[in-house]
């Protein structure tokens, strides 16, 4: 699929400015940039949640699903895990339970969690529930917006591993948004950099990280905190 000349304006403010970006089938495209650079607005436009000009081609708008930063606010606190995951299923009642179980297993959660409420789960488990719910709608494109930013490092790894295994096992195309360059580099095939609403650079992950073409990308790379490893 391809995003062509997409622009989003809020009044006189241009949040996303003429962005063109290709998301190859079965690839993970990582999108980095500072807060306010327009990453989430681009994601919401592609999901059909905000009006835009330009075009999103090669994907039916009803087949885009999104997973948000804070799994606690993206799950209805009064619905069980099972009910949340079942929400997007277009299946007869009888087939639902089996499908919920399949989805929970797909995101490596025990089936027994279906009867629990979001507050009883850890942050990482909640985020997997949100992913399972999105997968239930059989999306052609999954947008992950800062899905590990609210998680502790100790559980972030498991969610990132899940994202990669989903690409390998079911060939899911994904737009993976994060402000953390190390995280984006780890999961993505292609890295795209946004700055003040514009796309300043896009290319194969290792290339962008090793030989950034844009000055802003370079300053982002320089600022990544590094643990001295011996």
């Amino acid at each position: 699929m391809i995003i062509k000349n997409l622009t989003v304006r809020f009044g006189s403010f241009t949040a996303v400015d003429d962005v063109t970006l290709e998301i190859p089938d079965g690839a993970i495209v990582g999108l980095v940039g500072e807060s306010g650079s327009g990453k989430s607005t681009l994601a919401r436009a592609v999901s059909g949640l905000v009006p835009y000009t330009g075009a999103v081609e090669g994907v039916d708008p009803g087949r885009v699903q999104m997973v948000f930063q804070d799994p606690l606010t993206s799950l209805d606190p009064r619905m069980t895990v099972g009910a949340s995951v079942a929400e997007g299923l277009r299946l007869p009642r009888a087939a639902r339970q089996a499908e919920v179980e399949r989805l929970l297993t797909l995101v490596s959660l025990p089936v027994s969690l279906a009867g629990r409420y979001p507050r009883e789960l850890s942050g990482g488990q909640r985020q997997r529930v949100a992913i399972a719910r999105a997968l239930g709608a059989r999306p052609a494109l999954l947008i992950a917006d800062e899905i590990t930013s609210a998680l502790d490092v100790s559980v972030q790894g498991a969610v990132l591993n899940l994202i990669r295994s989903l690409r390998e096992e079911i060939g899911l195309s994904m737009l993976f948004i994060s402000h953390n360059l190390a995280v984006v580099r780890y999961v993505s095939d292609v890295v795209a950099v946004m700055h003040r609403g514009r796309l300043v650079e896009a290319g194969p992950a290792e290339e962008v990280v090793k030989a950034p073409a844009d000055a802003y990308t370079r300053s982002l790379l320089d600022a990544v905190p590094r643990l001295a490893r011996s």
């Binding site: 949340s84 709608a137 190390a182 992950a205 990544v224």
Partner: protein
């Protein structure tokens, strides 16, 4: 329920409302006959032993009539409130399911009704619906509806903006189902709270209508009607009017108090209630002599909240001058509360205890209140994640900084302002004199955080506590703030306690790292050892699970299964045991924090 009975207002409200409910049920059964008994020998009497509130024009006992009239007053108030609530919630919720045009029409109508005076609306409806109880109830219901509609709209709008509603929309869930499954259940609680308060209002308004002769008509009687009957005699025999008036006032106050307390309890419920009673944290080891060189020395610090919630459990920490110590741990491990306890900022009803809490060589527990505040005000600088927590949005930056100097150092206003500009320049805020005249919202997040650091530098801080100061900032800005903190520490010789959940940031900035887990220190080591010499399984897992720019992309990342126990359910033994690969039977006992190598301490049975 426990919240209700904890404050005087809660107790009073609960008692009053319970009394009213009992009265409404039992009153007519007990005093019904008495209230109707006509006694021509005792017409229009004042207060007496036989009739404490006097009698009316047929010689009926007014006290009995007040006790009986409660049922009608309360019952009508309840019906009026329910009418108002149902109509209001419908009006408020409709716009979210109607097509856009119709939705706008409904919203506009509600807005117009909210602006219309409630009393007029009530009288207007009452007059149209006909004199009497029915008209009054409909009138009050109509007057309450716009308020409920507005509240429903506001609440529904906040839920409609929630991520889970966006998700439901993306999944193609219909608007009606979104309303009934997601929106209404999540706004029910505040609506019900509002109902309690509206009930008090309705009761008083109905009494008012009856008092004006628009409400209940004889031979029925409610409190308002009794007040109406007695009012003409208020100067001759005051008791006949004061009795019903007191009943109305008490009921109104009762419902309002209860509503208030319920609302406050609901907003406090954000923190989960603990079940077990507070377990004492065992005190370990000799206390020893105080460390005279340390800027900060904390021994066995514990912070506890009612209900067995103990987020900080026997924490010890020493910081030397010029040292940058990093306190790292996942959220909820007690880092922020540790900082608050040192600054004396733990919110009520938290309780802080420590075997030792020394700042700049003085025991904070032993200092008189005023000296303690002065010491904290001048020697300790605190920087939080949200700079707006430290800045008053209504005041100019320069004035806020200057205030520190005028309050704690007795500087004159011009001196203080000059120093403020100087400090702003010191933290490299461009055009400091101009910035000093601006309000906080005119500065970017990074600039605000610099201003807060400058504020800390108004005194001569010996210790800077920075709690996640860069978490809300972008990496490029984060790097500048870290550099600034390092410079400030080098220049002033102050010590810094830097708190973060991000072990990479800690690794870049700090000299020494203290790792917290579930309220305790599990490891303490020089930063050089973080990547390869960490001995505690938790620290090792934290380091291993962190992706960096060199991580092998073909291999899965390390991660830790399970979750940190909440502060109400921390086990007696090692809190990490149920996530630890090395755990054995021995780990049911708490491992002490003991020396491992030079400058390196670990709390783990397996670290040898």
């Amino acid at each position: 329920m426990r919240h209700l009975l904890r404050t005087p207002a809660g107790i009073a409200g609960t008692l009053l409302v319970a009394l009213m409910v009992i009265l409404a049920i039992a009153g007519p059964l007990i005093w019904g006959a008495e209230a109707e008994r006509i006694d021509s020998a005792a017409i229009l009497q004042g207060a007496s032993a036989a009739h404490p509130l006097g009698t009316d024009n047929l010689g009926r006992d007014i006290l009995a009539r007040v006790l009986v009239g409660g049922r009608l007053s309360l019952g009508l108030a309840l019906i009026a409130t329910l009418i108002g609530a149902v109509a209001g919630v419908l009006l408020g919720a409709l716009p979210s399911v109607l097509p856009r045009r119709a939705a706008r029409l409904v919203t506009g109508t509600v807005n117009a009704l909210v602006a219309f005076p409630g009393l007029l609306l009530a009288m207007f409806t009452a007059v149209i619906a006909g004199l009497g109880a029915r008209g009054a109830v409909l009138g009050i219901g109509a007057a309450l509806a716009p308020g409920f509609a507005r509240l429903t709209q506001t609440l529904a709008a906040s839920v409609a903006g929630a991520d889970y509603v966006s998700v439901a929309r993306m999944l193609g869930v219909s608007r009606w189902r979104v309303l009934t499954r997601h929106v209404l259940p999540n706004i029910a609680e505040p609506l019900i709270l509002n109902l309690t308060q509206a009930l008090g209002g309705a009761l008083i308004a109905l009494a008012g209508m009856s008092f004006l002769g628009l409400g209940v008509q004889p031979p029925s009687f409610d409190w308002g009607r009794l007040l109406f009957d007695g009012f003409g005699r208020i100067y001759a025999t005051p008791a006949v009017a004061l009795g019903p008036a007191a009943a109305i006032a008490l009921a109104g106050i009762g419902f309002n108090l209860l509503g208030d307390v319920l609302a406050r309890a609901a907003s406090r419920r954000a923190t989960p209630p603990g079940e077990a009673a507070g377990r004492p944290v065992p005190e370990v080891g000799e206390l020893g002599e105080p460390d005279q060189d340390a800027v900060l020395e904390v021994r066995d610090l514990t912070v506890a909240f009612p209900g067995g919630v103990t987020p900080v459990r026997g924490l010890s920490l020493t910081v030397a001058p010029g040292e940058i110590v990093g306190l790292v741990g996942e959220s909820g491990s007690g880092k922020s509360l540790t900082a608050s306890a040192i600054g004396g900022l733990v919110p009520y009803p938290g309780e802080v205890s420590a075997r030792r809490l020394r700042l700049c060589g003085a025991d904070l527990d032993e200092l008189p209140e005023q000296e303690r505040r002065k010491l904290l005000g001048t020697s300790l600088a605190m920087v939080f994640q949200d700079p707006m927590a430290s800045l008053n949005p209504a005041l100019r930056i320069g004035g806020q900084l200057a205030e520190v100097a005028t309050v704690h150092q007795g500087a004159s206003r011009t001196e203080a302002f000059a120093r403020a500009v100087d400090r702003l320049e010191h933290v490299r805020i461009p055009e400091p004199a101009a910035r000093a005249r601006q309000h906080p919202h005119e500065l970017s997040g990074g600039m605000r955080q610099r201003a807060v650091i400058a504020m800390g530098l108004m005194g001569e801080p010996r210790l800077i506590i920075a709690d996640e100061p860069t978490t809300a900032l972008d990496v490029t800005v984060q790097r500048e703030i870290l550099r600034l903190l390092r410079e400030v520490t080098d220049e002033t010789g102050a010590a810094t306690l830097f708190i973060s959940h991000d072990i990479a940031v800690i690794g870049e900035l700090c000299h020494r790292v203290v790792v917290m887990y579930a309220g305790r220190v599990v490891e303490e080591l020089p930063v050089e050892g973080l990547a390869s010499d960490a001995a505690h399984p938790y620290t090792r897992a934290l380091v291993a699970s962190l992706p960096d720019m060199e991580t092998d992309r073909s291999r899965p990342l390390a991660s830790i299964p399970g979750r940190q126990p909440s502060p109400a359910e921390v086990p007696d033994g090692c809190a990490f045991a149920d996530r630890c690969e090395l755990a054995s039977a021995k780990c049911a006992e708490l491992p002490p924090l003991i020396p491992y190598r030079a400058g390196h301490r670990v709390a783990c049975w397996e670290a040898k």
